[in-house]
């Protein structure tokens, strides 16, 4: 009996907003799907497009970048640069045969914990509908 696939979503969260919102969700005990694996970055602009691809190549079922609201970036406009890169990332995904929906870039502020949880929930649902990433190595029985 094949073990049920447990999706994994890599989320690059910026220190000032995304990561803080996730922390706040914890303080408020807002529950959300456990597929999320957060990687802290200082700014959403720190995320290189190749890193997104790398994650998908290594088997992530979804990748998110969560940065600050427009106009509120701690580093002035890093989030806008991240947004601009998103188009490039979409193209890369197509080239490598990944569904666009496996990547999501979004913005929220540090107090928007409920929005954070909702976004994670939406992504989780999306990823379930898309099915496991073909690169996922969970089929090898390598359950974590």
């Amino acid at each position: 009996m094949r073990p049920e696939h447990k999706p994994k979503i890599i989320a690059f969260c910026c220190n000032w907003c995304g990561y803080a919102a996730a922390d706040l969700a914890g303080i408020q005990r807002i529950q959300y799907p456990d597929s999320l694996r957060i990687i802290r970055v200082m700014c959403s602009g720190m995320v290189h497009p190749e890193m997104v691809l790398h994650a998908l190549n290594k088997g992530a079922d979804g990748v998110m970048i969560i940065g600050c609201q427009l106009g509120e970036c701690h580093y002035i406009d890093g989030n806008e640069k991240a947004m601009a890169r998103a188009e490039l990332i979409d193209e890369l995904l197509e080239d490598f045969g990944f569904e666009n929906d496996r990547f999501l870039i979004t913005r929220l502020s540090s107090s928007e914990s409920e929005q954070f949880a909702r976004t994670v929930g939406t992504m989780h649902k999306r990823v379930l509908e898309l099915g496991p990433n073909p690169n996922s190595n969970q089929d090898n029985g390598d359950t974590p």
């Binding site: 807002i30 694996r37 200082m42 290594k58």
Partner: protein
């Protein structure tokens, strides 16, 4: 020998030899000498001493008396919860299922006597119907002897109700209250959330509790908002007990020779809220009046600032400096130590740390795994230092809370052990795991293993980094010349730090210029004059009038802020710390005929008319105050905190001048919190009539033939009332400074959804802004009365002084670093850097070849990593967030 455990509120037992509670410092056992047979002389027991393998029990240890000479004393003796035993008809102490709110805290705590399950004390059956009764021992002079409001119990009950319902969504919760005093920042919204979660709030004060039958159920008879008498049954009733000052504290005050008021709270002046009646003795916290955590913390810092100012001339004469061991040279082999924090029960109640330990121990670079109860405690930090030294650990992973909480603390800890402080990584298995995946412990455990593997993978790739130090410019910038700004400036300047005070208008005083009396009757204008003179005469303060902030940059210890003064000159001020005290703005009503009917005025306007004996006031015989105008509505979903007290004070004055006047106050909740409750009682005594319009809707103000009529429904008689009024006074609220948003983005801080500055942590860091070195105080933070602004100003000053008292600080080493081998000088990073911190560089190598590279100015670089996200060669990386480390985390997460 066993006795009820005070920490668990006597809900469980403890022995004579015991640890007081899990977070005790030091975390060692002590012996209760009254209970111990050996020490109280009733027996010859020495079981503990015999059992101790370390021979650590010393029965001969006794109390020692020491004399210490000091220049200032800060008293923070706190409060005691009111004990309802034998009082009123609550049945506390007789009926098993009647408990107090502190006992409820223990029941809900996962470290408590029932591990967080809500069970009836009488028979351990699960609770299905829960009730809270508010105002026990508060607002209750008649049987209980305390007329004041304890100001925190409304929020405490809502919090306990929310937690109880979160733990069991079938639980039915009722809160019986008289006024809902959720007047703090964000508190009204919290109250609304509770109502949305189907917690039933009913405005009625039950008079007592009776047993319902013999199985422990409880009966309460109340009158509901429709005026019907109801009998209801509950499994468990929580008495929300108030705060009081008890005998040991009263004696302490007597020893200190400071004055206590009639309810035994320490007397203070509104203008010096942390100074006792005796010079050199400062007080903070609930000792001077009931208050919550954030106000207590502010007062703690404020007392420190006041004491520091007093002792300025003796600064540093007795300070001890921490001597750090030299940092070890990097070792060849990586030896990682992983510390798994239980965080009490916050992590371990969901995550199986034993499973985690097993799986992490087998990882290649992990040489030691240790479980600890509280990573941040003194004991654990000493353990970490000990293990680093004895086991030669050279990489540390702390699996615990958020790095934003304690990363700095753990960095300091390993530095004390001689390890470079950047060889640390935290795995956030609390905020991002145990707290948010409570319903699936297995999944939470799996995730914890992943998160720790990610941290281990990343920390292996870390290298020791030496941070640069930077000189601290030991001066401060205060933006805003109102009472808050002036208070902060004076305190900082008194402590020896020069201050630049930026004021938008041409005079000092701000919103304080519109005030006349504080809540306890102290006269404001002379105080403001005094402050103005102090500021203008102070050699350490430079005031910039008619000046606004145009631009801001820099970092803690070295900010540069550009202002434009009245002559349109630009000036750049460099400063080590900054305090934002830009105040608020009073709102102008747009309802009830304001601006159309002559007799309708706003409260602040009425004050002036009253003082100058305007004919409308002197001849007036009927006055109606309407509360919550422009507050607690859709566009301003917050309480302006000061208006209830203000209207009540005005009403008292009107009645004292002429008892035949009719004075009415139309309100939604009466928020004369804390010791202000005495004003409410006084107003009632003088015949002021209070009408609550929450249930039946806003009053209607009409004018016909110059006669103003107010129509409002009476909340007790459920029928309409007509009031013929001479004047209507609208208690309009406090708005944020309209410029707050612009200033916030200049300083790279945030404003909240209501437009007030967002502090770093609402409870624990109330005056810190998220950017280090910047602080906020006064109305800019949230609506508040003048004495709370003064406390906050002093608190911000204390926080700023902590930074400014250092000559240099270590800069964060988290900066971009160029990899010479891979950089080809393409300069794409230069374009994207928001701080222009990267410049092109040409070098010539040993073979005489020219290379194009880039160079990073570490003073300008903020470590944002946008360059890293852009570089096609992976040749520029931010320390601690390198491409390699991030990739390692990705791979570890996905196995």
């Amino acid at each position: 020998m066993a006795t009820p455990d005070e920490h668990n509120r006597r809900l469980s037992d403890r022995r004579a030899i015991h640890i007081a509670y899990a977070q005790a410092v030091p975390l060692t056992y002590c012996i209760d000498s009254d209970l111990c047979l050996h020490l109280n002389g009733t027996g010859h027991c020495s079981r503990c001493s015999d059992a101790c393998p370390a021979d650590a029990v010393d029965f001969l240890m006794s109390a020692q008396e020491n004399t210490i000479r000091v220049g200032a004393i800060i008293m923070a003796p706190g409060f005691s919860p009111y004990n309802p035993q034998g009082k009123g008809s609550w049945g506390y102490g007789v009926l098993d299922n009647v408990i107090t709110s502190p006992e409820m805290e223990r029941l809900l705590s996962s470290c408590g006597p029932t591990s967080g399950r809500l069970l009836r004390p009488s028979d351990n059956r699960p609770v299905k119907q829960l009730a809270f009764i508010q105002c026990i021992g508060s607002r209750d002079p008649h049987p209980c002897g305390h007329g004041y409001c304890s100001s925190v119990c409304c929020m405490t009950a809502i919090k306990e109700a929310m937690i109880a319902r979160d733990n069991d969504c079938e639980l039915e919760v009722t809160v019986f209250y008289s006024d809902m005093r959720t007047h703090g920042k964000g508190f009204d919204r919290y109250f609304q959330r509770a109502s949305d979660k189907q917690i039933r709030f009913t405005r009625c004060r039950p008079h007592g509790i009776e047993p319902a039958g013999k199985d422990g159920a409880l009966r309460v008879r109340t009158i509901n908002e429709q005026g019907r008498q109801l009998e209801e049954t509950f499994d468990l009733i929580v008495l929300s007990v108030g705060l009081e000052i008890q005998e040991p504290t009263i004696q302490l005050a007597s020893l200190a020779g400071i004055h206590l008021g009639p309810e035994h709270f320490a007397s203070t002046s509104s203008f010096q809220p942390v100074l006792s009646s005796k010079k050199g003795i400062y007080i903070c916290g609930a000792f001077s009046g009931p208050k919550n955590i954030s106000l207590s913390i502010e007062q703690g810092s404020a007392a420190a600032a006041a004491a520091a100012s007093l002792l300025m001339s003796r600064r540093d004469t007795k300070t001890r400096k921490l001597r750090l061991p030299p940092a070890q040279p990097p070792a060849a082999a990586v030896k990682t130590g992983v510390f798994l924090c239980h965080c009490g029960n916050n992590i371990s109640e969901t995550i199986n740390l034993e499973t985690v330990r097993k799986q992490i121990s087998v990882l290649k670079s992990v040489s030691h795994v240790e479980e600890v109860l509280f990573g941040c405690s003194q004991d654990t930090r000493e353990l970490i230092i000990d293990l680093v030294r004895s086991l030669g650990l050279n990489r540390i992973v702390i699996a615990a809370c958020s790095p934003k909480t304690h990363e700095a603390l753990f960095r300091r800890t390993i530095r004390e052990a001689g390890l470079n402080e950047y060889l640390l990584e935290m795995a956030n298995i609390r905020n991002h795991d145990s707290w948010v995946h409570a319903l699936d412990p297995d999944a939470a455990t799996d995730k914890a293993v992943d998160l720790i593997k990610m941290a281990v993978a990343a920390v292996m790739l870390k290298r020791p980094v030496t941070a640069n130090t930077a000189a601290v410019k030991q001066t401060a910038l205060v933006v805003g010349g109102g009472v808050t700004g002036m208070t902060a400036a004076i305190n900082l300047a008194d402590q020896g730090f020069p201050v630049d005070l930026v004021e938008k208008t041409d005079r000092l005083g701000g919103n304080g210029l519109n005030l006349h009396r504080t809540w306890n009757g102290e006269h404001v204008p002379p105080y403001i004059k005094k402050l103005q003179a102090q500021v203008l005469d102070h050699p350490g303060i430079t005031v910039h009038f008619c000046a606004t902030v145009l631009d801001a940059g820099g970092h803690a210890g070295n900010f540069h802020t550009t202002i434009r003064d009245h002559k349109e000159h630009r000036r750049i001020i460099t400063h080590g710390a900054g305090i934002i005290a830009v105040g608020g703005k009073r709102s102008l009503p747009d309802e009830y005929g304001y601006g159309k009917i002559p007799g309708v005025v706003a409260a602040v306007e009425f004050d002036a008319l009253h003082i100058y004996n305007d004919i409308r006031v002197s001849r007036g015989s009927s006055f109606v105050f309407i509360q919550c105008v422009g507050s607690r509505d859709e566009t301003h979903n917050y309480c302006s905190r000061v208006c209830c007290t203000h209207s009540v004070q005005s009403a008292i004055e009107l009645k004292k001048e002429d008892p035949n006047r009719q004075v009415y106050i139309l309100f939604r909740e009466m928020r004369t919190y804390g010791l202000r409750e005495s004003l409410y009682n006084r107003a009632l005594e003088l015949g002021v009539i209070f009408i609550n319009y929450e249930q039946f809707g806003k009053p209607k103000v009409k004018s016909h033939d110059e006669q103003i009529t107010v129509e409002v429904w009476d909340h007790i008689l459920h029928r309409p009332l007509h009031i013929m009024a001479d004047m209507i006074i609208l208690a309009s609220g406090i708005l944020p400074n309209p410029d707050a948003g612009r200033l916030a983005s200049l300083f790279r801080v945030n404003i909240d959804e209501d437009g007030f500055f967002q502090e770093a942590h609402p409870k624990l860091r109330p005056v810190d802004l998220p950017t280090d070195g910047l602080f906020v105080a006064g109305l800019a933070h949230a609506p508040k009365p003048i004495e709370e602004s003064i406390s906050q100003a002093l608190a911000a000053s204390a926080r700023a002084a902590t930074l400014l008292s250092q000559k240099e600080i270590c800069l964060d080493a988290v900066k971009a670093v160029v990899d010479d081998k891979h950089c080809d000088g393409c300069a794409l990073c230069i374009d994207v850097c928001p701080y222009q911190a990267i410049t092109p560089l040409e070098t010539i190598d040993a073979d005489g070849e020219q290379h194009k590279l880039v160079a990073v100015d570490t003073m300008r670089c903020t470590g944002c990593g946008i360059c890293q996200g852009t570089c096609p060669k992976r040749a520029i990386n931010v320390v601690d967030f390198t491409y390699e480390q991030l990739t390692a985390k990705i791979e570890a997460a996905l196995n």
